[in-house]
C-alpha cells in the first residue's frame, strides 16, 4: 500500500503540496484505501457498472435553442497570465 505515488497524483490533481502535506496525505490515503478494500468481498463478476442512476439515456437538446440564460458579457476582464 505504501507505493501510492503521491507526488505524481498531486501533479495530476494540479495541487502543489509541501513535503509535510504529501506525507500526511499519504498516510490518510493508505488508511482510506485499506478500509475501502472491503469492496473486494463483494462479488461483481457478473455485474455491469452503473452509468446512470435514473436510467436516462441519450439526453439531447436542440442546438440554437433559446439562450436567454447564457452569460452575456460585453467582455471579461481577467488577470494577465502570460
Amino acid at each position: 500500500m505504501s507505493d501510492i505515488p503521491v507526488a505524481k497524483i498531486a501533479n495530476l490533481s494540479a495541487l502543489t503540496l509541501s513535503p509535510e502535506e504529501l506525507e500526511g496525505i499519504q498516510s490518510r490515503l493508505e488508511e482510506t484505501l485499506s478500509y475501502i478494500d472491503n469492496l473486494k468481498e463483494v462479488d461483481v463478476t457478473k455485474t455491469p457498472p452503473t452509468s446512470s442512476v435514473t436510467g436516462s439515456v441519450n439526453v439531447f437538446f436542440e442546438d440554437g435553442s433559446a439562450q436567454e440564460r447564457t452569460l452575456q458579457p460585453g467582455s471579461y476582464k481577467v488577470d494577465r497570465i502570460i
Binding site: 501510492i4 503521491v6 497524483i9 498531486a10 495530476l12 490533481s13 494540479a14 495541487l15 502543489t16 503540496l17 502535506e21 500526511g24 496525505i25 490518510r28 490515503l29 488508511e31 482510506t32 484505501l33 478500509y35 475501502i36 478494500d37 472491503n38 469492496l39 468481498e41 463483494v42 461483481v44 455485474t47 455491469p48 457498472p49 452503473t50 452509468s51 446512470s52 442512476v53 435514473t54 436516462s56 439526453v59 437538446f61 435553442s65 440564460r69 452569460l71 471579461y76 481577467v78 488577470d79 497570465i81
Partner: protein, 458 residues
C-alpha cells in the same frame, strides 16, 4: 404580531397570514433578519447575511452552494471568498418566481465535503440544542437557521446525508428528493451523480410545499427526469396505508436511545394502520466504501475547474479536506487503478440499486434511524479517519441508488438531543414518503421539538 409569534409559524402559515393581511412580508423578514443578526455570532449559521428585508418576498436561508446572482456564493471555501455569481441557480430562480428570495447564505462544510460543518473555511456552526455540539453537515448552517428560528425554512443539498443528517441532529424535517427530481444547475457540484437539492423545514407540509416549487425537469440540467411532478402538498394528505420494511442491519451499532426512539416510532406507525415487515438489505458498510470512491472521484473532477484564473483564488487556497478528497479521487481514476477502484465501485453501485429494487418489490417504504447517534461534540470528528462517510453510513445506500428519503424528528435522547427517523422510498416516490411522514408528524406532534427549541433562542 410579536416576534415570538412570528417565529412560531410555519412557512405555510406565514404565507397564509400574509395573504389574509394579518402579517406583512416586510415585518416577517425584519423579524428574521434581526434575529439572524443578533444570534449569528453565536451560532455561525450564515456566511453572508442579507442587508435589506424584502417587502414582497418571503425570505429564507439558502445553503451557500447555490449560485445566487449578485449575492456572494462561497461554498464555504476561501477559494470563492469573493465570488459573486453572474447567474441564478434553477432552484433559487424557481423560488424567486414563487415570491421566495434569499435571507442569507448559510454555512456548510467547504465544498460540501463533510457531515459536521466543521470543514468550513468560515468556522463551524453550532447546534442550537447544545452549542458545544455540531449540527451535522454538510447543510449544517441551513439546519441551524430553521432549528433556532433564524429562518422559517432553508434550502440545502444532499450528496449522501447532507440534508437528512443535519435535519436529524437539529430536530427538523429534511427531504432528499430522488436524484434528478430537482435541478442541479447552478449548484456548486460535489458528486454529480449524487447531488440532490432539497428543503429543510419545521414541518412535513413546508417541505412538500417547497418541493413542489423546485421540482421538475430542467433543460439546463440533462440529468433531471422528465417524469411529471405531483401536487406534493395534496399528496402528503392522502393518508395511504403502506407496507413498511425494517432491516435489522440498519440498527447495528446504533446508540440505544436512537434505536429505542425509532422502534417506538415504528410501533406508532403500526398503530396508525401500516404493516411492518422484516426485510433483508445489503450491509451499509459496503456503501461507505462505494460512496467514498465514487464521490471522491467525482469531487476530483468537479474541483478541477477551480483554476484561480477565470475566477476565485488559486488552488493553494483549498482546504486540507478538499485536497485529501481530490487526491483520493484522482488516484482511483488514474491509469492502472481505475478498474480496481472506480469501475469496481460502479459495479457495486449496481448491486446496491438492485438490492433496493428487490426490497421495494416486497414493501412500499423502508424506515430506519437517520444517524447512528445523536449530535457529536465539536472536534470529535477528528477521531474518525473519514468521518463524513462513516457517520452517514445509514444514508449512503439510498443516496447511491438515487432514492428519495425524508428525515423526521421522532424524539430526543436523555440529554435532550434530537433523534431522527428516515423514510426511504423507491424512485420518484416523494408523495408516498411525504404522506407517511405527515401521518407520523400529525399523530406525534413531533414539530414541537423544534418549536420549543426556537423559543429558547431570543
Amino acid at each position: 404580531m410579536t416576534d415570538s409569534s412570528i417565529v412560531g409559524l410555519t412557512l405555510l402559515e406565514l404565507l397564509d397570514a400574509i395573504k389574509r393581511r394579518e402579517l406583512g412580508a416586510r415585518e416577517v423578514n425584519i423579524c428574521y433578519l434581526q434575529r439572524s443578526k443578533r444570534l449569528n455570532p453565536e451560532l455561525n449559521a450564515y456566511i453572508t447575511l442579507g442587508l435589506s428585508p424584502s417587502d414582497q418576498d418571503i425570505q429564507i436561508a439558502v445553503k451557500d452552494n447555490f449560485c445566487t446572482k449578485g449575492i456572494r456564493t462561497t461554498a464555504a471555501s476561501k477559494v470563492l471568498e469573493n465570488f459573486i455569481p453572474p447567474y441564478e441557480s434553477t432552484v433559487t430562480q424557481r423560488l424567486l418566481s414563487a415570491g421566495i428570495s434569499s435571507l442569507g447564505k448559510t454555512n456548510m462544510d467547504a465544498w460540501a465535503h463533510g457531515s459536521s460543518t466543521e470543514t468550513s473555511d468560515f468556522g463551524p456552526s453550532k447546534n442550537p440544542f447544545d452549542t458545544t455540539r455540531i449540527p451535522g453537515g454538510s447543510s449544517g448552517g441551513s439546519a441551524v437557521t430553521v432549528s433556532a428560528g433564524l429562518s422559517v425554512a432553508a434550502l440545502g443539498s444532499e450528496t449522501a446525508g447532507s440534508i437528512r443528517g443535519p435535519a436529524s441532529w437539529c430536530g427538523i424535517v429534511g427531504l432528499k428528493p430522488t436524484y434528478g427530481r430537482v435541478s442541479r444547475y447552478g449548484v456548486i457540484a460535489m458528486g454529480s451523480s449524487l447531488d440532490s437539492p432539497g428543503p429543510l423545514t419545521k414541518t412535513v407540509d413546508d417541505a412538500a410545499y417547497l418541493l413542489s416549487l423546485i421540482a421538475g425537469h430542467d433543460p439546463y440540467d440533462a440529468t433531471t427526469t422528465t417524469a411529471p411532478t405531483e401536487d406534493y402538498l395534496a399528496e402528503a394528505h392522502e393518508g395511504r396505508k403502506v407496507r413498511i420494511g425494517v432491516a435489522d442491519i440498519y440498527f447495528n451499532g446504533v446508540e440505544p436511545s436512537v434505536k429505542d426512539s425509532v422502534e417506538q416510532a415504528i410501533k406508532t406507525l403500526e398503530k396508525l394502520g401500516h404493516s411492518v415487515h422484516v426485510v433483508k438489505l445489503m450491509d451499509p458498510k459496503y456503501s461507505i466504501s462505494d460512496y467514498t470512491i465514487i464521490q471522491r472521484a467525482e469531487v476530483s473532477s468537479n474541483l478541477a475547474r477551480y483554476d484561480g484564473i477565470r475566477y476565485g483564488a488559486g488552488r493553494e487556497t483549498l482546504g486540507s479536506e478538499a485536497k485529501r478528497r481530490i487526491m483520493l479521487g484522482t488516484y482511483t481514476l488514474a491509469h492502472g487503478y481505475y478498474d480496481a477502484y472506480y469501475k469496481r465501485a460502479q459495479k457495486v453501485r449496481t448491486l446496491i440499486i438492485d438490492d433496493f429494487k428487490r426490497v421495494f418489490g416486497e414493501v412500499d417504504v423502508i424506515v430506519a434511524p437517520t444517524m447512528p447517534m445523536t449530535a457529536l461534540k465539536l472536534g470529535e470528528f477528528e477521531k474518525y479517519p473519514f468521518f463524513g462517510e462513516v457517520m452517514d453510513v445509514l444514508l449512503e445506500p439510498s443516496s447511491m441508488a438515487g432514492l428519495p428519503a425524508i428525515s423526521v424528528p421522532c424524539g430526543v435522547d436523555a440529554q435532550g438531543l434530537p433523534i431522527g427517523m428516515q423514510i426511504m422510498g423507491p424512485h420518484l416516490s416523494e408523495s408516498r414518503i411525504l404522506d407517511l411522514a405527515y401521518q407520523y408528524e400529525q399523530e406525534t406532534k413531533s414539530y414541537e421539538i423544534v418549536q420549543k427549541n426556537i423559543l429558547k433562542w431570543k
